[in-house]
């Protein structure tokens, strides 16, 4: 990997970076769409590439099950298999293991889980996870970590954090002796739950291994309340390594993370919500299933460069086909992917031009309008010297404050 910071925001911790991997350059900060089973649902790789996307995520857990390592090896890796020639990041498989298996028992050796094929106990070790990721051939691979929910309290959190460090060492060993270090880049995952002390300890340990890891993920935190922990990690992590916040997809969340010094994030949200008929816009989400869109001849966003909006596809036509025709799912998926990319691309330009705080304020004003700003966003941004509330008279919303278009009455 060649990694270079090319611009920094003078106010926040945001930066623009150039990351060159085996399958090309990805400019950061960026959002990574999720191609769970070797496909962005409904789209061809050429479509995804034409939308200006250069980095996608594949799920190790799913690909290991289907098509399986044997097929991937025969195909020459996941890039060739799915016809995607730009960058891929794979997760370790650990998260799905825990969330999707009938039972999962974490031991020092690895994660013991029920095989979804036949229910037999199967072990996923750090070495095995790396080996699968080597077969997949992604440009960025993740260590296997002992992940606990951010709601967990007690000694389990500490146990998981320390084990993650030990597993990182095992992953590093496995990776270095594979001979693939020049093509595939291993990221560590910082754990420690919501406990700042544990986080600090984890950061100490993992930063000490800086020369043997290519980047850092901030794990176990993917909700609004935990931004303090994200800031803590982003402040301490080396600036010459990319920082990856796993499982972040709401636009406001992405921008807050960028302001805190995060470079990349992934989430199924924009593509999944598209399939359910919700289009994301700079003025908030549009629930195209609602009656209010039945006769609207406007596109989702007349300024959007995506093929759906550029062709003038009206909200009325979208209303007629979303959730019913696959072509409707494709149309909104295409739009939402471009929306996400536009949010991040706009951020890159704003940082390069020294106006990122203004970009943040404009985004929140347009996106939330008079509905009010989520409190956690305001607080997180204040911690990097951006006061969204300055000169603005809107309510502060407790909780996630996520904006949604619920009904025709709203």
């Amino acid at each position: 990997m060649q990694f270079e910071v090319i611009a920094k925001c003078r106010t926040t911790r945001a930066r623009v970076c150039r990351m060159e991997l085996a399958h090309g350059i990805t400019m950061l900060p960026t959002f990574m769409p999720v191609a769970t089973q070797a496909a962005i649902k409904g789209l061809t790789p050429q479509q995804v590439e034409s939308l200006g996307i250069t980095l996608i995520l594949n799920n190790t857990y799913h690909l290991n099950l289907r098509p399986g390592i044997k097929v991937l090896d025969e195909a020459g890796g996941a890039h060739k298999f799915q016809g995607w020639n730009r960058n891929i990041l794979t997760d370790s498989g650990g998260f799905q293991l825990v969330s999707l298996s009938k039972f999962a028992n974490i031991t020092e050796e690895g994660a013991l889980f029920a095989s979804p094929f036949n229910g037999q106990p199967t072990m996923l070790t750090p070495e095995e996870s790396l080996s699968i990721q080597h077969s997949i051939g992604a440009d960025i691979i993740m260590q296997l970590d002992d992940v606990v929910s951010s709601l967990t309290v007690g000694p389990r959190v500490s146990e998981a954090m320390h084990r993650s460090v030990r597993w990182l060492d095992r992953c590093i060993e496995q990776h270095e002796k594979s001979g693939r270090k020049d093509r595939q880049n291993l990221f560590a995952i910082v754990q420690g739950g919501l406990d700042p002390t544990l986080r600090d300890q984890c950061l100490d340990a993992m930063i000490a291994r800086k020369d043997r890891v290519a980047g850092y993920a901030i794990g176990g935190l993917s909700g609004g309340e935990e931004k303090g922990n994200i800031k803590q990690c982003a402040d301490r992590l080396p600036s010459d390594r990319p920082r990856y916040s796993m499982g972040v997809g709401f636009a406001e969340d992405l921008l807050v993370c960028v302001a805190l010094g995060v470079d990349m994030a992934d989430c199924v949200f924009p593509t999944r919500t598209a399939r359910f008929g919700v289009a994301l816009t700079f003025k908030g989400p549009l629930n195209l299933k609602l009656g209010k869109h039945t006769t609207s001849m406007e596109p989702i966003d007349k300024d959007c460069p995506c093929p759906t909006c550029a062709s003038g596809m009206s909200r009325a036509m979208l209303h007629h086909v979303v959730t019913i025709e696959t072509a409707g799912a494709h149309a909104v998926t295409i739009h939402n992917l471009v929306f996400q990319a536009q949010v991040m691309g706009g951020a890159r330009d704003a940082i390069l031009e020294g106006r990122f705080p203004e970009y943040l304020r404009a985004f929140f004003r347009d996106y939330f309008g008079d509905a009010g700003y989520p409190e956690w966003c305001v607080n997180a941004l204040r911690s990097v010297d951006v006061d969204l509330m300055e000169g603005v008279n809107v309510p502060l919303i407790r909780g996630s404050g996520a904006k949604w278009e619920y009904s025709d009455a709203a």
């Binding site: 298999f81 007629h320 149309a331």
Partner: protein, 591 residues
Amino acid sequence: MTQSAAAKPLGIHVPKLTFSLDQGPQFGPRVGRLCLTRWSDSLSRYAIDIPTPNFLVGTSRGAVPHLSRDHVLSANAISWINVPFESFLEHTPPVPTYQTGPQPLHNFLGFDSSKHIVSLSLRDPLDAGEMPPNGNAHVSASCMRGVRKVTIADWRSYVLTMQPDVAFALSDTPFTAAPHSQKRITKSIERSAAWLADLLRPFRNTTDDTFSESNHTHPLNVFVHMAGGASTSARKSFSHHITEILHGAEADAVKPFRCLDEGVAGYAFDLATLRMKPVPFSTGDDRGRSIEIAENSTILQELESLAEIPTPNTTHTPTSFSSSMNEPLPSISLAPTLDELLRASLNPLPIAKPRLITDVRSPHEILRLIRDIGIDVFDAGWVVKAADIGVALDFIFPVPSTHDVGPDHCNRDIGHNLYDSKYASDFTGLTDAFLAGPGHDKTPSSVSPICSCIACSPVIPSYPIRHSKADVKSHQAHSDDGVGREPFLPAFTRAYLHHLLHTHEMSAHTFLVAHNLAVLDALLTGVRTIISAHVDHNEATAVFAQEVTRFEEAYDEAMSVLHSARDNWEDVKRARGKGRLARESGKTEGK
């Protein structure tokens, strides 16, 4: 129900559809050219040329199944798109009527007016589910909210508002259980003719009420469904009806046409209603798919369909009309063949008008209809259905000399059921008959042409969207890495499509629809090449017939690959949800 939201358009430029035909007999293989000339607002004109035989693709709720707009536009195979209007009846007035500006139908649905002929029918021609009966002045149509009555005034208004390039006149087809009485058939003929006449009444082109040539235009190019059902005499009667000279008020109504046929741009035959015994009324997406096998019917019935076909190796029953084109089914010796029905309709009619058939089911059927009748346009529904169930079509016409053909060789399948576990590690492209993109050392020839669909010949996007100034670097650097890069990428593999099908990914069907349309396009291109290679018509007919025979011998007509694919598709569908991997691995062998 007669209002539409948009103001009545004035100054409509009616695109003109013409059909030119190479000389030939009334019934036999023929090539022709459909030409749609369109005037733009600036009074410049451009033309769309479609050589025939060719095909149209039907839409579902206004969208080509599984293809996003960019894929529709990039599919060279697609020239003619038919839009059944009925799904839009869910809202009053129908939502597309809100579209303003020129070519409202094209624009609402995202089709290219410089490339696509777009036709409008009320009903989906492939939907032969039972419907409540029509009335004298209305047709029962089906939408998601149930049945809607569409009056002839409504239909006229929709046609004039949406300005399709081709409009299908309403026709009175009974969608109730056969057999039908003489009275019913007669009513069907009379209504269909009357409804055709209604659509042919000229419409006012300006706000000036008085009739004159200059301010009245005739409706857009009108196709008529040939009424008469499964009765040769009824069909003959309908054809005579539309060719007889009109008098009095009837003549005034469609002035300057002297008979209805003069206003007709083409003839349509819907096989769906002829094939099936209609089933009890149902809404939802079972419509048109569930059928019962006919018993003791006095009219020719389809005995199998894609939906209900028993697995192969059961007793052979004729599929569609394929094997029985020239002889009636043994048990129903007095029933007419499809051949006879088509000829009965076409005999009294001018030769040089395009003939369109919907609900063909196989390439064999297509070839025989071209050979024996001279059909010009087919619908592509069956190739889309094949894509729905995971089959990549793979046939070529004419069959190359390198293909082993004859009684000693077994038939090839017309395509590949990509659900089959044998494809799990098959890294070849979707088709054997064609080459994938020019990234191969074989050069394309007439024997092994290239399949240019997005699955076989994917292309590197030339202008990806740039989201920030910094992005210039990421795109440029990727193509400046020193490797001489061809625009084409390696073909998508059977292994990948197999994987997509088993993981229930939608992109599988995107690839397969695009591919199957390209294969159909190549079939008909091959047909046109063979027919037009000989100036002498008898020679052309003879050579074509020979090639059809070779095709029949080369490719399995029972299309067993479709049947097993349908079974597999059902299995994956049933297995979905929690625990599906365990259910699926129990079923597949050799995993």
